[in-house]
């Protein structure tokens, strides 16, 4: 399984764009890259998933370079409610989902 590395924590002011980068040097050909958000005492919540290039939904964008050894989650104009832990996961099937330590994002007023 590809191991992921993310910054432990990040701070951002409200209204700013936040980019969280994840390294996954050992990503396999069939692996997808998935990002989850988790608030305290709640289950992780799916944000976005991609395989290559760029994916955008109503919540975030995911940028994946051609070598796929890293990915960047972009949150536009964050608000206080975006304060949470963000996890990057890579995997080939729904059977194995191994979470790393995640990035704790704190949005400052």
């Amino acid at each position: 399984l590809a191991k992921t590395t993310q910054p432990i924590s990040m701070d951002s002011y409200e209204g700013q764009e936040v980019n969280i980068t994840c390294s996954h040097n050992n990503i396999a050909t069939n692996d997808y890259i998935t990002w989850y958000q988790q608030f305290p005492s709640q289950g992780p919540r799916f944000i976005i998933q991609g395989y290559k290039t760029k994916v955008t939904n109503e919540v975030a964008s995911l940028f994946i370079p051609a070598d796929r050894k890293s990915s960047t989650l972009s949150l536009p104009r964050v608000s206080l409610s975006d304060t949470a832990v963000y996890y990057c996961l890579v995997g080939i099937t729904g059977n194995q989902f191994y979470f790393g330590t995640g990035t704790s994002l704190t949005v400052i007023p």
Partner: protein, 119 residues
């Protein structure tokens, strides 16, 4: 988004006792998972369940753990003889295992969790 409920929301038990945690997916799904999260630590995969049998399990999922889907709806996690270190949040997740317009193969939907406290 599929809805997953878990019961109880909080379970307190004495060390050595058996506990059963329940997960109730609102709609039919193929894949079921259990994860745990010790306070302040990362989410850890325990087991996946497909077609009424275990598909994969982690090193954490030892002989004291078991899973089943007894009535075709509820998905349960049993811990036979709880230890202090079993205290954690336990999350159930589901996945339909198919590419879909709304979500894809790797997207898992998590329940709200059961907080297990072993005294």
């Amino acid at each position: 988004e599929p809805e997953v409920t878990q019961t109880p929301s909080h379970q307190v038990t004495q060390m050595g006792q058996e506990v059963i945690l329940r997960c109730v997916p609102i709609s039919n799904h193929l894949y079921f998972y259990w994860y745990r999260q010790i306070l302040g630590q990362k989410v850890e995969f325990l087991v996946s369940f497909y077609n009424n049998e275990i598909s994969e399990k982690s090193e954490i999922f030892d002989d004291q753990f078991s899973v089943e889907r007894p009535d075709g709806s509820n998905f349960t996690l049993k811990i036979r003889s709880t230890k202090l270190e079993d205290s954690a949040m336990y999350f159930c997740a589901i996945n339909n295992g198919l590419l879909h317009l709304e979500f894809s193969y790797n997207e898992q939907f998590f329940g709200p969790g059961t907080r297990l406290t072993v005294l």
